[in-house]
Each structure stands twice: as C-alpha cells, then as structure tokens.
Symmetry: C2
Subunit: 257 residues, 2 copies
C-alpha cells in the first residue's frame, strides 16, 4: 500500500479558530495531518516574515494531528518553520484556512491565509488557501464540504502547475445553492479606506483602519468576484510573480536615462 500523503495545515486566524479545526478534521480523511499555525490571530499580515525578532514554537494537541505546533510567527513563518525545521520530508500538500472571511480579488495580497499558500507553492509544494465568505466565528463550513473534499482530492491526484497555488473562495450559501466551481482570475478591485479617529483615556488620538470594498469591473464575468456573486466557488491560480509583463515594453524609455 502506498504511503498516505503528508498534509501540512496552517491558517491566519490562529490555531484555535474553528476554520482550521474543521479543515484539519476534513483533511485527515486524505492523509497524515501536521498542523503548524499561528498562536494568535494574524489576519491582514500579508507575506510578512519575522526577521527583526525571534520565533517560538510550542507543541500542542488541539487538532489531534500527527504533529502539531503553535508558532509565534506569521502564517508565512509557520510554513517556513514546518518545511525547514519541523518536518523530516516535504509535505505533499499545504492547506491554509479555512479563513473566516473572503480572500478574493485584491484581498489576496493582504491575506495571511493566502500568503501561507503562496509560500507553500514557492517551497515547491501544491498549496491551497480556503476562505469562506462569512466572517462569523460560528460560520458553517459544512455546507461546502463536498466541494472542499473534492478540491483536496483532485489536488493530490493531478499535479498543480509549478509555483502556482489555488485561492479558493466559498460563497456563504446553503449546500443546495452552490452552482459549482469556476476557475477565474483575480478581479481588479480596491479598498476605499476610512480611518476612524478615537481618543484614548489620556486624550491622545488613535485610529482604526476601516474601509469599503470596490470592485472596479463588476461587469466582467471571468473574475472571482463574479463567480462568488453568482453562486460559484471561485478558484484563482495564484503565483508570486508580480511582474507586469505587459508593461515591460511600455517602460523601455527608462533605459535611455
């Protein structure tokens, strides 16, 4: 019998979040599970790594995984720590999430969940970030179970393009209302920010970052935003190459300086 695949699980909501518990349990049907996840919420950490400070890890047993650590670092630190320090062999799959809230469109660059998946792909391992478009801690992940299982299984069977991970977003629907999966591109969008100013008890100002999501191309039907708004799980092949290849020629005038 062939060895069961080794699946590394992480997230950005922290090792106690319901989303990672659900994912670890579900993924254990498909292989041996190792969890290395942040010891506290790390939402919005993007691709941050810990280089000005130290990292600690603590053995835990919240998810009854084969091996399990809470890590003081960022989601990307967790993947690096697992692959380069904890695991003796490379994982066959990295799963990140399930995130409580959307990581579609521009959210991908702010997302710790997705940065962990991108880091997994950079390390040469097929990787998937899962996010449910429901920020509630009591979000119901079971509704999309059929699709989440199928995506994990498919990723273990069919090779993923090198250096590419999947950004899977799940609309907040009941099981019967899902229309299927769409392979789509990241929509052009932005957050229009507002800084909410408050005064601390000592009379000094401080701010909360808040914002409103704006989709710049609501009419495009090949984007993740369109898929989600129309009842599909969106799957965006995501990579670490941020070069704007189509601008290379347009900017040649700089070479004359």
């Amino acid at each position: 019998m062939p060895e069961k695949p080794l699946i590394l699980i992480t997230n950005d909501d922290g090792i106690f979040a319901p989303g990672i518990s659900y994912l670890a349990k579900l993924a254990s049907q498909f292989g041996r599970i190792v969890v290395v996840a942040p010891d506290k919420p790390q939402s919005g950490m993007g691709h941050a790594i810990t280089i000005n400070s130290t990292i600690r890890i603590q053995k835990t047993n919240y998810h009854h995984a084969e091996l399990e650590y809470a890590c003081s670092g960022t989601p990307v630190d967790c993947v690096k720590m697992a692959v380069n320090n904890i695991l003796k062999k490379r994982p066959d799959l990295v799963l990140s999430g399930i995130n409580h809230g959307s990581n579609s469109s521009i959210n991908v660059i702010y997302s710790g969940t997705m940065s962990a998946a991108i880091e997994g792909a950079l390390e040469g391992t097929p990787s998937i970030g899962f996010s449910l478009c429901d920020y509630a801690m009591e979000a119901d992940f079971t509704q999309a179970e059929k699709y989440i299982s199928a995506i994990i299984q498919e990723s273990l069977v069919n090779k993923m393009p090198k250096g590419v991970c999947l950004n899977v977003n799940i609309p907040n629907l009941k099981a019967d209302d899902f229309k299927g999966i769409k392979i789509v591109r990241q929509a052009r969008a932005n957050w229009v920010e507002r800084f909410e100013e408050r005064k601390d008890p000592y009379g000094r100002n401080y701010y909360w970052l808040t914002g409103e999501f704006v989709n710049f191309e609501p009419e495009s039907t090949d984007t993740d935003e369109w898929a989600l708004a129309n009842g599909y799980l969106s799957v965006v092949p995501t990579q670490a190459d941020m070069t704007s290849h189509k601008s290379l020629n347009e900017l040649k005038h700089f070479e004359k300086l």
Copy 2:
C-alpha cells in the same frame, strides 16, 4: 507657474533610516515633500496591514518636509494613512525607500518597501520603490544619484501604466561603474531557510529565521538578478495581480468537480 508636484515618501526601515533621509532630500528638488513613515523598522512586513490593533501617528520634523508623521503601523498602513487621512489631495508620486538591501526577485513579496509602492499604485498614484543592494546603515546612496534623480523626473513627466509601480534595485557600485538601466522581469528565485535554534536564559528554545538566496534561472538575461549582477539598475514593473493567467486553462478540470 504650475503647482509643484506633491510627493509622498515612505519606507520600511523606519523614519530615522539614512535611506529615507537621502530620498526625501533628493526628491525635494522635484516637488513638495510629505513624509509618512513607520516609527520603527518594519522590514519583511510584506503587504501587512493593521486590522487587529490601533494605529497612532505623531508629527515629526526629522526631514524638514512640508508635512511629516511617524506612524505606528506598517509601510502599507503609512500609505493608506497618508492618502486617506493626512493629505487633502492625492499625491502625484509615491516614493518608498531607499531600502537598505535588495528587493529584487522574490524579495518583492516580503518587502515592506515594495508593498508601500504597490499600495500607492493600487491607490492610483505612480509609485516607485528604491532599494540599494547594501544592507549597511552607512550605505552610500550618492553613487547612483544621477539615475535616481532621472527616474523620479521621468516618472513625473511620463505617465506610468495604471496599477503598475516600479521596483528599482541599485547594485552596490561606484558612480563610474554603472552601465545604465534595464527594464526587466522578476527572476524566479527562492530563499532556502535555516532556523537557527538558541536557548533563552530560562532554558527554552527560540529561533532566528536565516536563509540563503537561490536564483533558479541564473542564465536568463531578462531578469532583475541578471541586470544587477551585470552592473545595471534593475527596474521591474510590478503589479498587485497575482493571477497565474497561463494556468487558467490548465486548471479547468477543477470545474468538473
């Protein structure tokens, strides 16, 4: 006489770093300068934003700019704070840096310097991240002054492609040894990490993240790594779209799940 351009300056090494002092002074020849920069080093923060905590700003006068704030947040927070809360009008140019150390190749996704520039482009403003391939605090930025000035000036005159910023890396050379500027793509590369384990005075383990940079395509002559190794300033047009467009078709089999 037309109004002078408004130039927003930030970085990730913190508002006290020599690199931002040099950049603010140089840029003041080309317009009105506003500095909003982290109040402490924020290297490796990637595209992190502060959403689980509050942000503070403090008026300062280290750079004799028209307006100047030290911000408790990340480099991306600084840009959001400047554009959405401090400035009354949109800046004409966002400059980030000059970073003490390289942000070429894969470093772009870990870099707070570049994330600030990417955020500037997302906000609709032409943006440039500058990095000198010298980590020393006493790095000599003046050697490339001719090029840095020319790039800033060119960016104020010629429109940049929408949503695209420039990742400018400067090899650590003497002025006479620069061969010019190359518009190039981000090289495929990675860090091979090693976690250095130490014991604290209480006998508990902690780790320092260290690593070695590996260029996966040293033979390619159209990459930033090649340009830097051959005496050129590398300029990579950089965008927030992380979709692997060429993988879209390759992954269609997921739509059948």
